[in-house]
């Protein structure tokens, strides 16, 4: 028999990153700047705490919302770092990575046809997640000239009577864009005026450089009551494989998200939750030392790219640079394919993150300095030859 896939799933295009990944997989000696995860293993004290918990036999289910001790630790952390107060037992849900929390929030909020705005270039899962939740994905293009930050006028223009949700991700994967408290003010005012719910994915917030402080839109007046604050452990604590994220939101919304979570997932794995407690309670120094390392590599890679003639902003957050490659006369995809085939360096074409990414490629600096250095040498040779 021929199995018929549901229309809305069938119509989701294959991920551009996955295509690329499959080509890279078949090649040897490739230096990859295409990896969206830390190159550090999880700090030892966190791994060790998880081993201890396993030894004690902590292997069961947890409360649907997550271990109460973890939720209290999250509440303390979010208050201390972001100035946001959430009640640990009713306003916090521990999820399987931020990805699950985004899915939960969208499914809990959207009726078919509700529109969701998000800024593009952006993380690859946003548009498909909206579609899977039967919403309508409406990208707002951000521009290199604005440092890929979200402009209030662009937001205002994109809003229709069907707009229900605005999704945000600052610092941004793939552009490294950040937003200041002053930039949030007019955005927040628009969200309040149009009664939008905001999902803000702040997974890269610990990776804010130059001693800068990350500022969350949730802290703006009138925002916390309409915001789902999403965060997790993957990037800041180098814990991608543990799959632990969390959502903080008003209790009725957390309750609705929990309904989906309890039937689909039951709970996030306890091993990851135990490790996450250690990360929050004693992980500050590990985060600071990884941030120092990323910031240095950022300096290195941004200067190297600019020196080879690829215009590149020095991002104030995340571990990505998003250089402009259009001066080579190649498209993002041509540039990435040729760089891979001829010089064995993998970068991700900007178009994998939305059509607005054309003319750019994403280079991750979550890779050791030696590799970055060699990759930059090869890339400089390629750029000189392509011109």
């Amino acid at each position: 028999m021929s199995i018929r896939i549901a229309d809305h799933v069938r119509d989701i295009p294959r991920s551009g990153i996955r295509d690329f990944f499959e080509i890279v997989q078949t090649m040897e000696d490739v230096i990859s700047l295409g990896i969206g995860e830390p190159d550090f293993a999880t700090p030892w004290h966190i791994r060790e705490a998880a081993i201890y918990a396993l030894e004690k036999g902590r292997t069961g289910y947890t409360s649907n919302l997550g271990l109460p001790r973890l939720r209290r630790a999250i509440s303390d952390y979010v208050r201390k770092k972001f100035g946001l107060k959430y009640e640990p037992l009713s306003e916090i849900l521990v999820s399987v990575g931020v990805s699950e929390a985004i899915d939960l929030a969208l499914r809990a909020l959207l009726n078919p046809g509700d529109e969701v705005l998000y800024h593009e270039p952006c993380y690859v899962s946003y548009a498909p997640s909206i579609t899977l939740a039967r919403g309508v994905a409406r990208p707002i293009e951000t521009r290199a000239d604005d440092g890929f930050s979200l402009r209030a006028d662009a937001l205002e223009k994109a809003i229709t009577p069907s707009t229900k949700v605005l999704m945000l991700n600052f610092p941004t994967n793939p552009t490294g864009a950040t937003m200041t408290a002053a930039q949030w003010e007019p955005i927040a005012e628009i969200c309040v005026r149009h009664d939008l719910v905001v999902l803000t994915d702040e997974i890269y917030s610990e990776l804010t450089f130059e001693g800068g402080t990350h500022s969350s839109i949730a802290a703006c007046p009138g925002m916390q009551e309409r915001t789902v604050f999403l965060h997790g452990f993957s990037k800041s604590f180098a814990m991608t494989g543990w799959r632990i994220g969390y959502a903080c939101a008003p209790a009725p919304l957390i309750e609705a998200m929990m309904k989906i979570h309890q039937y689909a997932i039951l709970c996030a794995p306890i091993m990851g939750q135990d490790a996450a407690i250690e990360a929050l309670e004693r992980g500050d120094e590990s985060v600071a030392s990884m941030r120092r390392e990323y910031e240095r590599r950022r300096n290195f890679i941004a200067r190297a790219l600019n020196e080879m003639g690829l215009e590149c902003l020095k991002p104030k957050g995340s571990f990505y640079v998003f250089p402009k490659i259009s001066s080579t006369g190649l498209t993002s995809r041509e540039f990435s394919m040729r760089l891979l085939n001829e010089h064995k360096v993998a970068v991700v074409p900007g178009t994998a993150f939305g059509p607005g990414g054309e003319g750019h490629v994403r280079c991750s600096f979550a890779t050791g300095l030696d590799q970055i250095k060699t990759a930059m040498e090869r890339m400089a040779a390629f750029v000189a030859q392509a011109r």
């Binding site: 991920s15 295409g34 120092r292």
Partner: protein, 159 residues
């Protein structure tokens, strides 16, 4: 300065041009900062970390606890420096606890190490007692691991 020292401690051989890029400084700034640290005696030297399983395997390392009688003038300093000056002594620390000096001694073989303790160290008047521990195996030295974890596998491209 902190950042430069940090990088030098990770890898003193890192090209200064790479350091300049990492720290967003000019090459001359990095070079002059290092020269200043050397001139001021902040940086005392640069050394290689040798894997003793692979090189000079006969060499013996002894960690020795030394209990000494402090002097009325100068406390422990004169005796400590007298001990530290032996070329066998690689490191010498005044420590708190049940003994006073912790010294690390390297000798070409066991016999020489024993001779150092019996003939040189123990015979100093102020030395009341010693306890010698021989190194059996090194797991980590100056921040470098001798047994490496295998590099974690990562996807070659991920979102």
């Amino acid at each position: 300065m902190d950042a430069i020292i940090d990088l030098l401690q990770q890898n003193a051989l890192m090209p200064r041009a790479d350091m300049a890029r990492l720290l967003d400084m000019e090459l001359v700034e990095v070079e002059s900062a290092i020269a200043k640290l050397e001139a001021e005696g902040v940086i005392l030297g640069y050394q290689a970390i040798i894997n003793r399983e692979k090189w000079d395997t006969e060499k013996v390392t002894a960690i020795i606890e030394v209990k000494i009688t402090p002097e009325r003038d100068g406390g422990f300093d004169r005796i400590a420096s007298r001990i530290a000056k032996f070329e066998e002594v690689q490191s010498c620390y005044l420590v708190s606890g049940g003994y006073d000096l912790l010294i690390i001694v390297e000798a070409p073989n066991l016999r020489n190490a024993a001779a150092f303790v019996a003939q040189k160290l123990s015979t100093i008047d102020a030395v009341q007692a010693t306890a010698t521990h021989f190194r059996l195996k090194t797991y980590k030295e100056n921040g470098a691991f001798h047994q490496f974890d295998s590099a974690p596998e990562r996807l070659s491209v991920s979102p």
